[in-house]
């Protein structure tokens, strides 16, 4: 056994120090978010605050919830999110609580969170990465982006692929029929509010083989009952967005108009609004639910 020479030892020492140097340099990376802002984020962020319920759902879906230190008030899915510290609602963020959690990364949504709040956090040296999920495709993209930030690329790719596969399956199911029932999707009760073309609920309705009778350039159009009557929807779907409103009562209000085909055929349903108003990976669940409500005949249920 020849003792290692001083030269060899010093060579390895240099290698080790160089590696350590590289590691210490590599604890941060530069990224550009969906608002085009360049920022430096930790390589492995450990204290994340999710600024919208959909972001919370994505982080949980990626299995990275241990790094999540704060969520917004209505982050209720999965139930484990309920126990995390709250930092206000996504529109009215409580900056003091966010700063007090000492986050090394905040993840925001471009359209949901007010820009002023993101700007102020950035001024306080807290990186705010904004994703921009608007439909199923961009949700999948947001999943990939967040997976990249949290070093969970593989899991993120799996999740995105699963989403695509499930959408594909629904498309195949729907292709079996040419019938495109007229759907009225009600998100507001008083006044009656529906959803226009440029919303992800519209995308879900079209993918699920329905025709949105409220399609149009207004994102959240208001309707009078007589307008709905004239449009003769074959399916009415009510999302439970109005907290505290009784579904039975809303249903009864429609049932006093038996001229509406949806009323005649008992095609009034209520769905969980959390599933439909959040751009989260669960949108595919919403889609699968929707196709069963719009095309029950494809699943062996007579209309």
């Amino acid at each position: 056994m020849i003792p290692p020479s001083v030269k060899t030892i010093s060579f390895w020492l240099v290698v080790v120090f160089f590696a350590l140097f590289l590691l210490s340099r590599a604890d941060a990376k530069t990224v550009v978010d969906q608002m085009g802002r360049r920022m430096t984020v930790p390589d492995a962020p450990e204290r994340i605050v999710a600024l919208a319920p959909s972001i919370t759902e994505i982080i949980f879906a990626l299995g990275q919830q241990d790094r999540l230190k704060g969520v917004t008030t209505y982050s209720n899915y999965p139930p484990a999110a309920l126990t995390l510290p709250k930092v206000g609602t996504y529109i009215r963020l409580d900056l003091e609580r966010i700063v007090a959690l000492n986050p090394d990364l905040c993840i925001a949504t471009k359209d949901g969170n007010p820009k002023s709040a993101a700007d102020r956090l950035t001024e306080l040296n807290i990186p705010v990465y904004a994703v921009n999920p608007r439909d199923i495709e961009t949700v999948a993209q947001a999943v990939i982006e967040i997976g990249g930030l949290l070093n969970a690329e593989e899991k993120a790719r799996d999740l995105a692929e699963q989403m695509h596969a499930r959408v594909q399956r629904v498309k195949t199911q729907v292709a079996k029929t040419d019938h495109r029932p007229l759907v009225f999707f009600q998100i507001g009760v008083s006044p009656i509010v529906s959803i226009g073309t440029d919303t992800f609920i519209n995308e879900l309705i079209v993918l699920a083989g329905g025709e949105n009778i409220a399609a149009g350039s207004t994102a959240y159009p208001r309707f009078s009952r007589e307008q709905v009557l004239a449009l003769a929807p074959e399916v009415i779907i009510i999302s439970s967005m109005t907290r505290g409103a009784s579904f039975e009562q809303i249903k009864a209000e429609w049932q006093s108009w038996p001229k509406i085909p949806a009323v005649q055929n008992h095609r009034i349903d209520i769905v969980d609004s959390d599933l439909f108003d959040r751009p989260s990976p669960r949108l595919v669940e919403a889609l699968e639910l929707l196709v069963k409500l719009i095309h029950p005949e494809l699943f062996g249920n007579p209309q």
């Binding site: 009215r92 003091e96 609580r97 700063v99 000492n102 306080l124």
Partner: protein, 335 residues
């Protein structure tokens, strides 16, 4: 001469006393907040203790301080605005919010926001135009009615206010602008948008106005005696009235475009201070600035800390205190 020294003495006393109260209010407000950090730790940081908690330091100096200073500026402005209106219109119940001046500037501000203008100078300028328009409207509506003049002014104010809120709701329903999503909080008076830049800009607008109004405080004393008397004592009544009204509208509209509609501050503070130190405006102007500032700091502190989750608009607190005071004063003035 003796009267002069007694005014200076009283002025000094008022300034020292109210500065003390304001400082105490500032300390409490800076050391409390939604993060529920200990008050002791906060005080240690405020008094510059070393090895302090860096997170709490950021919270205090970058989040709480701009907001607390905004509260001081807005409280001072609104309370001064009430004082000026009460003197010029010789009506103890006049106040920018009650007369609809705030509502008018809110319409201007909303139009400014919808046009996509920047907060300063665009939105502030629109708010100023709105407040001037309502001011002229109210003066025209209430002039010429000699009998019941006091009530005519208030009634005009109530109606202008109702009209303004209808126009605001009309504008809000027309648009689905995301920039207006916080509108309900803003309409009820909200200081949460404060950051060091906006507070700085507001200070640059307001503090010169405070000085000019202080310069006119003796003139307000003369006007309170009566326009004819003031005229015979060599006061250019018209000029002084116009300058003061326009200046007050400018100040009020600047605060409205940053913090929305905070009501009744201009009613509560001037009356309280007049009750303590009498009707001399040379004392009342600085007293309203310091006292009004402290009052809104405390109201905003309550709004920030009373709810378990989130916060309420500060205007809820000022209205809860102010509206009963208004009713009380109305009853008293009828006697």
């Amino acid at each position: 001469m003796a009267a002069q020294t007694s005014v200076i003495k009283r002025l000094l006393l008022v300034i020292v006393l109210l500065t003390g109260i304001l400082a105490a209010a500032l300390l409490i407000a800076l050391s409390s907040g939604s993060s529920r950090e200990g008050m002791g730790a906060s005080l240690a940081i405020i008094f510059g203790q070393e090895d302090a908690n860096a997170t709490l330091e950021t919270i205090i100096w970058h989040l709480r301080l701009p907001r607390v200073l905004l509260a001081v500026l807005v409280g001072a402005t609104l309370s001064l605005g009430g004082l000026v209106f009460q003197a010029l219109l010789r009506n103890p119940l006049a106040e920018p919010y009650i007369l609809g001046i705030s509502g008018g500037s809110a319409i201007g501000a909303i139009i400014g926001i919808m046009l996509g203008l920047s907060r300063f100078p665009g939105v502030t300028f629109c708010a100023f135009i709105g407040s001037l328009a309502t001011l002229v409207l109210i003066l025209v509506m209430s002039s010429g009615t000699t009998i019941l003049k006091k009530d005519a002014l208030l009634l005009s104010g109530v109606m202008v206010n109702a009209f303004c809120s209808a126009v605001i709701m009309f504008l809000v329903s027309l648009t689905q602008d995301a920039r207006l999503q916080n509108i309900i909080f803003w309409l009820m008076g909200d200081l949460s948008s404060a950051d060091s830049r906006t507070t700085g800009i507001l200070a640059l607008i307001l503090i010169p106005c405070f000085l000019v109004i202080f310069f006119f405080s003796h003139a307000m004393n003369l006007l309170l005696v009566g326009k004819e008397t003031a005229q015979t004592m060599g006061l250019p009544v018209k000029t002084v009235t116009v300058v003061l009204l326009v200046l007050t509208s400018l100040m009020v509209s600047a605060t409205v475009s940053y913090s929305g509609l905070l009501g009744f501050i201009g009613l509560v503070m001037p009356h309280l201070l007049r009750l303590i130190w009498g009707p001399d405006h040379r004392v009342l102007v600085p007293a309203c600035i310091l006292g009004g500032g402290a009052y809104l700091v405390v109201c905003d502190l309550l709004a920030r800390t009373l709810p378990q989750q989130g916060e309420m608009p500060a205007g809820v607190i000022t209205a809860l205190i102010g509206a009963p005071v208004f009713i009380f004063l109305l009853k008293k003035s009828r006697r």
